[in-house]
């Protein structure tokens, strides 16, 4: 009998994930709810619900609409604000044996920077007390840029550069920038993040989509457009991850529609260091644990000892 030790570890800078399965921002709360359904230490990591400097009520009206193999959401970044997150959720995060990622949104560069600074200070304070709650910041640049007339930072590289640069300067925590598939040139955007010193990029956020209620003759969503996620978008997400991996040498965290261990492997073969899983949490409440196991089963079946053997094989 041969004893095989599988190496599923993934790395971003100095942060090590025990496996490539990270729960995606906005679909997993801050982990508490799913933590009642399974052991979160099965996971490579968790990206918390997106937080902004100031609390936000999110969007009014209908916030979810199912589409063929996908869903549109218009949560609109409802969150209690960075400070409340630090005060109320981080005690729980301190107890977790998995990589903890704060997803940070904003409206002005100043908001982003201020938010990052608060997180950084809190982190240093905890560190001095021998505690840690946050391992990584995920900078969500899909938020509307108040100055640029509401167009998201995530669309034009030149507009996004400023926010990445300033946030990079504001924190010593490892920084991962979450890219929008609505970007004009997502590979270019990723390259910019690398240039500005980000440790990693993650993609894709939701694709801008629309649903019209033909009887009411108006958009289902008060915000007109909403964000598409789920299996429907996977082919697009995989292509974008592959494109980005050709352009940067920092780690890339891939996501978009993942709903099986094979999907995870596809992203890794396309070059991703790790993946995130969003909508699939709603389909399978054990998603994280089952995908982590599934990846190991796949490796055993295919005789793969370390994910590095297949990463970026395409």
């Amino acid at each position: 009998m041969i004893d095989i030790t599988l190496d599923t570890a993934c790395r971003i800078g100095d942060v090590t994930f025990k496996n490539p399965i990270v729960m995606a921002s906005g679909t997993f709360g801050f982990g508490k709810e799913y933590g009642k359904l399974y052991d979160l230490s099965k996971l490579g990591g968790i990206s918390g619900k997106g937080v902004t400097l100031h609390p936000r009520p999110g969007n009014p009206g209908i916030r979810v609409y199912e589409t063929p193999s996908g869903m549109l959401n218009s949560v609109g970044l409802e969150n209690p604000g960075v400070q409340a997150f630090l005060d109320e959720e981080c005690a729980f995060w301190e107890t977790l044996d998995t990589v903890r990622i704060v997803n940070l949104g904003g409206g002005t560069v100043q908001d982003y920077v201020e938010g990052a600074r608060l997180i950084d200070e809190d982190s240093q304070k905890r560190n001095r007390e021998g505690r840690q709650a946050v391992d990584l910041i995920e900078l969500n640049i899909s938020c509307p840029n108040v100055k640029a007339g509401g167009m998201a930072y995530g669309i034009k590289t030149c507009i996004a550069r400023e926010v990445v640069r300033e946030v990079r300067a504001a924190t010593t925590l490892p920084l991962m920038v979450k890219l929008s598939p609505n970007a004009e040139d997502i590979a270019d955007m990723a390259r910019m993040c690398e240039e500005e010193g980000a440790e990693a990029v993650s993609l894709i956020n939701t694709l801008s989509g629309m649903k019209i209620d033909v009887r009411k003759r108006r958009s289902v969503f008060e915000n007109l457009y909403a964000g598409l996620s789920g299996p429907a978008v996977k082919p697009i997400a995989l292509r974008m991850v592959h494109q980005v991996c050709q352009r940067v040498s920092i780690p890339v965290v891939g996501m978009g529609g993942i709903s099986s261990a094979e999907d995870v492997i596809e992203f890794i073969m396309a070059g991703a260091e790790a993946v995130q899983v969003g909508t699939y949490n709603f389909v399978n409440w054990q998603a994280g644990a089952e995908l982590a196991d599934g990846v190991e089963r796949f490796m055993l079946a295919e005789g793969i000892q370390s994910l590095s053997e297949i990463r970026g094989i395409l």
Partner: protein, 230 residues
């Protein structure tokens, strides 16, 4: 995974599914239900219609793709259930009425079964179903077919009201409540669209007087005066 004990049609487009398992659901709670793998994507929230030693029952209406697929399932098939979820109905105080419109009657049966006194008002649009079951509970049952069931209820006759039904009916109940003496505490059960069902995604958000709440964990039952209906 729960095995289906039975799944029978009780009226045009209306079914009762009995699924095996030991759940300890409270009145007014719900389950996220799916009877398929990946498609359709999301699970469907269904209220507890009844619960017995063998399992849980759902009374549901074929509204679209998901419920149509549920309706085609048979005894022996497996259904995936997450729950019981939600706050459920609070303890009823004093004279109580349960008012249901359409498939909104579903959560009232199990609630009524646990109440010593309750007046039941059931509103149907085209066909009456499960009348016998409701009457067998021994409570007074008033049936409305094709009319406005709320019109049959004098809110001031009661201390507690549980109301379930389509949104226009809930809005009407809010108005009626506001115009009443205020004797009755009026509770409504909301049917917001849901994704996770457990409080993690915020898509089921309800505008409340003091900020936003989640229909799936803070609800689905809310004080009528507290929620802002769109």
């Amino acid at each position: 995974m729960a095995t289906i004990i039975s799944n029978r049609r009780v009226a045009e487009g209306i079914y009762v599914m009995h699924a095996e398992g030991h759940f300890e659901a409270k009145q007014g709670q719900f389950f996220m239900v799916r009877g398929w793998d990946g498609y359709p994507l999301l699970s469907r929230p269904l209220s507890v219609y009844d619960q017995d030693e063998r399992g849980v029952k759902f009374l549901y209406k074929v509204a679209g793709e998901g419920t149509r697929m549920l309706s085609r399932m048979q005894a022996g098939d497996d259904v995936t259930l997450l729950g019981p979820l939600g706050n459920g109905f609070p303890a009823a105080k004093g004279r109580t009425a349960l008012i249901g419109g359409g498939i909104g009657i579903a959560p009232l049966f199990y609630a009524a079964r646990h109440l010593e006194q309750a007046d039941l008002y059931l509103g149907y649009s085209v066909e009456v179903y499960e009348e016998h079951e409701f009457r067998s509970l021994g409570h007074p049952v008033e049936i409305d077919l094709g009319g406005i069931v709320l019109d049959r209820v004098n809110f001031d006759d009661y201390d507690t009201l549980f109301i379930c039904g389509p949104e226009p009916m809930l809005r009407a109940a809010q108005i009626k409540s506001a115009m009443s003496s205020g004797r009755a505490k009026v509770y409504v059960s909301l049917e917001n669209r849901m994704a996770c069902g457990i409080g993690a995604c915020l898509v089921c958000s309800v505008g409340c007087e003091n900020g936003r709440k989640k229909a799936c964990v803070d609800g689905p039952v809310f004080l009528a005066e507290e929620v802002v209906l769109a």
